[in-house]
Amino acid sequence: MRVACPFCGDRDRREFTVQGDDTSLRRPGRDAGPLAWHDYVHLRDNPAGRLHEIWHHDPCGAWVVVERDTVTHAVHGVTLAREAAR
């Protein structure tokens, strides 16, 4: 699989570490309550199809949001997490 790092270009997936879906872009406030925190820390959707995931490009240290199809493995877009989070 190839993932296009916004800094380094098209790279092999071995250079990346996948963290899971992009839930971490929506971190609840400190006092959001146990249910919100349980949801944030432990619960993840597992869709068959397009999914936004957080990947780390190990050589350059960039965290990126990868839109990927879990069925076809096609990568539909890569953006810097820093930008997606804003």
Partner: protein, 972 residues
């Protein structure tokens, strides 16, 4: 037998080689299969299960029968093995010899050895399976044997990138590569064979008015001269993966005369923007009784051996097929002056015609004769049965396009009734276009045209113009094919390599294993090293017949990578021995080795375990001395392996408040604070120190083990969770060498090299300063991991070795010296300092007695989760110290804790030991561990049991800090 005047290697020099110890000679360019055939050898192997005599079936990598051991490498297909001077090949799975194989008795037991025989028979008693049945079966049924030695031959791996990868260099592939190359695309052309050309090397019908191999040679020569083309002969593309990545195995030295330093194989990962699959097609056999005798071969392969290598299995050959292509084999044999005993075609009305040889239509082969090689075939046609005495039988059940790669991403091929074949589905592998025989186009002219089309489509996608290319004139008749046929009764083999017969498949259907995937696993069909290349479609036809359904609805099994076997050595090239993992060495590594220190692995790092001195007989003696050294004089230890991360920016303080559970923004410049990082689930991730060098400048340390994880985490927080912070983090672990100097005399020693005031007023405990170290800009931290007064000096890495040598020499003059990881561990256990043995991912700040370090007034990673009631339960396992009641009592890490009088059973478990050592300071064993409600149980006696090491000790529960709980020694 050699056929005069035939073959492309007629003028080649003779190459001597041996097979089973007997000397032979072949021609340069021969495969082992063609060379043996030229020498009149038909019997080359014994089959897997029944030990039946077998010969060569095919002329390519699909070969199921002719597996041999060459120079110690087992299961080599004789059909792809090139010969070289002095090569030695041996047959396998036969004893005492190929001709007299004792296990041939299995063949007589055939009525009992059908599909599922082992499962049904060796069920009882169960204990005998591992001890008796399996070893006996394994010995009887088998392939070649491994040498039992480590493979120290060189292998390589490589990456390649290109615009267009062309897989296969037959007519379609050559045409596609030529067009794309002339268009200026960056092209890689990979072909399995040593010589490119594919079937053009095996046919006689002219291309562009010349012999077909001459056209191929011309194209290859043109491609070789072009700077935008890379040719990879002897390279099998073995798998298609996501994103246009392909795996390919190049046989660099394998199958060739050994040359020093030449790697055996190279595993390529090729990233191609587009790919053309021109892998050709694989011919399949027909089923009839005893269709496996040496001399029975695929018809197209007989043509290959005749036209390319000028060899045939014998002077009299019959041809049997269900298609027009088989007729070409008869034609070529006759043209070469060989006796075609008969051409038997399953199709049409039953009759006999004469075309220089008898042509029987509507006829079938119903039996064969010949013990170690084919002697005769029996044909049933018009006028009843008739026997022909022959040396070879060329069989064709039609051709199966090599669609394998198109299925590697989950695509299923589609059955084409007219072609009697599975065809690739368009788009099954994004960016890959199939063409030629792999696409069901079987005529040479069709392949050339299809290659042009595939190249055109690929060039369009690449944004390149298609150059004007003329398709050369070539034979354009693809012919037709009839359905698969089989005879009734007898032993009709379908999968030659795993000895699966028509009867086995029928039995599978009858016993309910009717899905093609179930049938495969029940009969083991297609599960041998050839992965059913020749047997897949015939088996589906037999299964469809047994179920009374069409092949289209039976479907096919799943093709997965690799297309042909790939040795683990090639895939893991470079990963043997020290290549298995990178080695990280401290700057003092050589100096430590010179002092005889054995190294211990800490992650990828190598750290000295201890520094032996003359007269010391064990690591314990050295360790005890080094501990005493630190406690009473001074010790020096390289601590560069700890992770060091430089954090700078206007929001550095706020950022660190967010990643650490405690507060770093209140830390004054010139001070160090111990810090704890949590995971978002509330458990401890790592600990370390945080030094403030300036208002917007911190240096944080991590444990050696978690350095990479913490770096990634800080990047994660900065980029994903809090992009609002203006902060930058960078790992400087490699840039700074850091040495710890610990012990009562440490200040004097450090003062000798650091140009700064080290008085306790100017540099108190947990102070830090930037200072020149022997004239080099460095840093001094007053931190302690031993409980003694201690300093850590950091200098740029290039000065690390000399600083360490200097400090050790100084320490030795003071009665101290270097200490290693063993002593470091004892020192920190005596002081109750934790490592990842304690913060192992399942413990919280509360568990290790640091819940007060989770600041209440701010948010941090893990704050919300750390407040969960379950993580603050008083009955959780909490960090405690453990000390034996009697001084000889042992404590071992991993031991479990029980109530004093409770039985050592899981239900009674109260906790466990995480760290243990012999403490020379207290002259007793000491341990750290976790005990349910442990903080309230100090003074209680519990039972420590290590069932693995047969240790049982009564221990007293104590504070985790054994030495100097007030900290007077390190504060000074």
């Amino acid at each position: 037998m050699r056929v005069p005047g035939r073959g492309l290697t007629q003028d080649a020099r003779l190459v001597p080689f041996t097979f089973d110890g007997k000397g032979h000679a072949g021609r340069d360019g021969d495969t082992l299969a063609s060379a043996l055939m030229g020498e009149g050898v038909r019997l080359v192997a014994r089959s897997f299960k029944y030990h039946r005599p077998r010969g060569v079936l095919s002329a390519g990598s699909e070969e199921p029968n002719a597996l041999v051991t060459v120079e110690g490498v087992p299961n080599t297909r004789a059909t792809v093995q090139e010969i070289w001077d002095g090569m030695s090949a041996r047959s396998q799975n036969a004893w005492p010899s190929l001709a007299i194989d004792a296990m041939g008795v299995n063949d007589l037991l055939d009525p009992f050895l059908g599909a599922g025989f082992y499962y049904k028979t060796f069920m009882w008693p169960r204990t005998l399976w591992e001890r008796l049945y399996e070893p006996v079966i394994r010995r009887a049924a088998g392939l070649g044997r491994l040498s039992g030695h480590a493979d120290d031959a060189p292998f390589e791996k490589a990456w390649a990138h290109c615009d267009l990868l062309v897989i296969g260099a037959g007519p379609a592939g050559l045409m596609a590569a030529l067009v794309a190359a002339r268009a200026g695309a960056d092209v890689i052309l990979a072909d399995e064979g040593a010589r490119m050309g594919g079937r053009l090397l095996a046919e006689v019908d002219p291309v562009e008015g010349r012999a077909p191999h001459l056209w191929a040679d011309g194209v290859v020569a043109e491609l070789r001269e072009m700077p935008n083309v890379r040719l990879l002969p002897r390279t099998t593309v073995t798998g298609a993966y996501d994103g246009g990545t392909y795996g390919a195995l190049e046989r660099v030295g394998l199958h060739r005369a050994p040359v020093a330093h030449r790697p055996v194989e190279c595993f390529w990962r090729i990233v191609a923007k587009r790919a053309v699959l021109a892998a050709g097609a694989i011919e399949r056999p027909l089923a009839f009784p005893d269709n496996d005798r040496p001399g029975v071969m695929l018809a197209g392969s007989v043509r290959t051996y005749l036209n390319r290598w000028g060899v045939v299995p014998g002077p009299r050959i019959a041809v049997y097929g269900n298609n027009d292509d088989a007729h070409r084999t008869a034609r070529d044999l006759a043209a070469a002056g060989l006796k075609v005993a008969a051409l038997i075609d399953t199709r049409g009305e039953a009759r006999i015609e004469e075309a220089g040889f008898p042509v029987m239509t509507g006829a079938r082969v119903v039996g064969t004769r010949g013990r170690l090689g084919l002697a005769a075939v029996t044909v049933e046609g018009v006028g009843g049965r008739r026997e022909f005495e022959v040396d070879g039988l060329a069989v064709s059940g039609g051709w199966s396009p090599a669609v394998h790669l198109t299925c590697h991403l989950g695509g299923k091929p589609a059955w084409d009734e007219r072609l009697q074949a599975f065809l690739p589905r368009e788009g099954a592998v994004p960016g890959l276009v199939a063409c030629g025989a792999a696409n069901g186009v079987f005529s040479t002219a069709g392949c050339l045209r299809d290659g042009l089309r595939a190249a055109g489509e690929s060039l369009e996608a690449l944004g390149l113009a298609v150059p004007p290319v003329e398709v050369p004139e070539a034979e354009g008749e693809a012919g037709t094919v009839g359905p698969f046929v089989l005879a009734s009764g007898g032993r009709q083999f379908v999968d030659f390599q795993n000895d699966v017969t028509v009867k086995d498949i029928r039995l599978s259907a009858q016993e309910g294993f009717q899905s093609v995937e179930h049938m495969k696993r029940y009969t083991t069909l297609g599960m041998a090293t050839d992965q059913g290349k020749t047997s897949n479609v015939p088996a589906l036809a037999v299964l469809a017949e047994a179920l009374g359904s069409p092949v289209a609805s039976t479907g096919t099994t799943t093709f997965r990578p690799p297309y042909t076997p790939v040795s683990i050595s090639a895939m893991g090239a470079g990963g043997q021995g020290v290549g298995f993992a990178p080695q990280r060495l401290t700057t003092s590594h050589q100096a430590a080795l010179q002092r005889g220190a054995p190294m211990i692995e800490a992650g990828l790092w190598y750290r000295p375990s201890y520094f032996p001195r003359p007269g010391e007989l064990s690591w314990r003696q050295a360790c005890d001395r080094e501990v005493a050294m630190v406690r009473h004089s001074v010790g020096v230890c390289d601590v560069s392996t700890l992770g060091k991360i430089d954090v700078q920016g206007p929001d550095a303080a706020a950022f660190l408040d967010f990643v650490y559970s405690n507060t770093m923004s209140t830390l004054p410049v010139g001070k160090v604070r111990y810090g704890l990082m949590l995971r978002e689930d509330g458990f401890v991730m790592d600990d370390g120190t945080c030094a403030r060098l300036g208002l917007q400048h911190y240096v944080v340390t991590t444990t050696t083990a978690a350095a990479a994880q913490v770096m990634r985490h800080l990047d994660f927080v900065a980029q994903v969770l809090r992009p609002d912070f203006d902060v930058q983090c960078v790992s400087v672990t490699e840039q700074w060498a850091q040495v710890s100097i610990a012990g009562p005399w440490s200040r004097e020693m450090v003062q000798a090299v650091v140009e700064a005031d080290l008085s306790d007023e100017r540099l108190p405990y947990m102070g830090c300063a930037e200072a020149a170290v022997l004239g080099v800009p460095g840093r001094v931290f007053r931190i302690s991991f031993s409980g003694e007064r201690a300093y850590e000096i950091a200098v740029p890495a290039r000065y690390g070795a000399s600083l360490w040598r200097l400090l050790v020499a100084q320490a030795e003059s003071l009665g101290g010296g270097a200490y290693g990881l063993e002593a470091l561990n004892v020192l920190r256990i005596e002081k109750g300092f934790i490592t990842h043995a304690e913060i192992h991912g399942r413990t919280t700040a509360f568990d290790i007695g640091m819940e007060r370090m989770v600041a209440k007034g701010k948010d941090c990673v893990g704050w919300a989760s750390s407040r969960r009631p379950g993580l603050l339960d008083e009955n959780r396992e909490q960090l405690v110290g453990l000390r034996p009641l009697v001084r000889t009592g042992q404590i071992t890490a991993g031991a479990h804790l029980y109530g004093r009088d409770a039985a050592a059973m899981r239900e009674n478990g109260q906790g466990y030991v995480t760290s243990a050592c012999w403490s020379p300071t207290f002259e007793t064993a000491l341990g750290l561990g976790f005990l349910k409600g442990g903080r309230a149980r100090h003074g209680e006696v519990v039972r420590l049991v290590d069932a693995m090491r047969a240790v049982e000790t009564l221990v007293e529960v104590t504070e985790p800090v054994f030495l100097d709980p007030e900290g007077g020694r390190m504060r000074g």
